[in-house]
Symmetry: C2
Subunit: 210 residues, 2 copies
């Protein structure tokens, strides 16, 4: 039991060191040796946990998904926020925007790394759909939401949010974003079947960015 | 003028031959020499038009987007179909499903080729959004659709349709599809702001697949 725990700790040490290096030096510029030096392990130990540097990056991406999901779960527990706002805030919060994530995000979004982006998207959809299931079903129970396909509604909102705002599928200009965010929230509202304008205050927050 | 036309014809010959080879033999198994033999040109001539086999595949993908857009435009002209059905049929028809496309689609969807998929998605969104603009604005004029953000509504429907049904973002099982298609049409209806059930008959067609 202790050995299992230590292995998990060691693996985490590698991931933490690698993430820091990828952010500071860039993924391409980081070698496995750089990682070994910081963690203070031999090459053999590294290869016990990972087969390549790429696999480390993939594990980091899954960690990012997990961190995002936890942020979302935390927001969803805050009953002081109206349900529909809470859901939209949770969706926005789970996107990787934390400090230093820019470099990893950049890595994720390089066209050459479209494979990583796909990995992120699939992992995120799988992890986040059940997270949102509960509050959406609560909203249906409380007569705030009205829909026949709750799972598919969540899937659609998550997918649109990710493709539009995290992954630049449309290559919009900076100045387009306030309108695009408003349109996204308006479409989310319609899919959830809220009263028209349920998210109005929330939507206006983004209008002020214009 | 004549020379320009001939260059365009030659380029098309290369694309037609390459597409046939990619479908028959697979992309990896096709060499530039295979293409040269069929078109009957020298290597230098090939490199006048393309820098690599990959570039040929990229050009084929842009052709596929163009073919899809033309199919959609044709359907949209058929005024005998109710407007909202016509729009959804156009969206479905533009997805690459033509004969022999399976091999190219397979190539497009291999995780290693996520870059190509991104290329397809961006080109498709750019080409298809204006195609659908006209019928959607017509629907607003005729009081069939009600929305504040027509462009963003079209973008969202195109994006969802592609990610869900052409690119397997969710890795759904075969038996999930009838429900997923129905949910997609229902969400599209809501974003377009039609009368609830405007697409009912259309949606039921997919129910019968269950």
């Amino acid at each position: 039991m202790k050995i299992v725990k230590e292995a998990e700790v060691r693996k985490q040490e590698i991931l933490v060191a690698a993430r820091e290096l990828f952010i500071k030096k860039g993924y391409e510029q980081t070698s496995i040796n750089d990682i070994l030096k910081i963690v203070g392990i031999a090459k053999g130990t590294f290869y016990y946990y990972f087969t390549s540097k790429r696999e480390v990056l993939e594990a980091i991406i899954l960690d990012i998904v997990e961190e995002g999901a936890r942020k979302a779960e935390k927001i969803l527990k805050d009953k002081s926020i109206p349900l529909v706002n809470r859901i939209m805030m949770a969706i926005m919060a789970q996107a990787p925007e934390f400090e230093g994530s820019d470099k990893i995000k950049e890595e994720l979004h390089k066209v050459e790394n479209a494979k990583l982006e796909r990995l992120y998207l699939r992992a995120m959809l799988k992890r986040m759909t059940p997270v949102l299931q509960e509050p959406v079903l609560e909203g249906i129970d409380r007569d705030i939401f009205h829909m026949e396909y709750p799972t598919e509604c969540i899937e659609s909102i998550l997918l649109l949010g990710h493709m539009m705002f995290d992954c630049d599928a449309f290559q919009w200009k900076m100045e387009d974003y306030p309108r695009k965010i408003q349109a996204f929230l308006c479409n989310a509202e319609r899919m959830l079947g809220t009263k028209e304008g349920e998210l109005k205050e929330f939507i206006q927050m983004f209008g002020q960015l214009e």
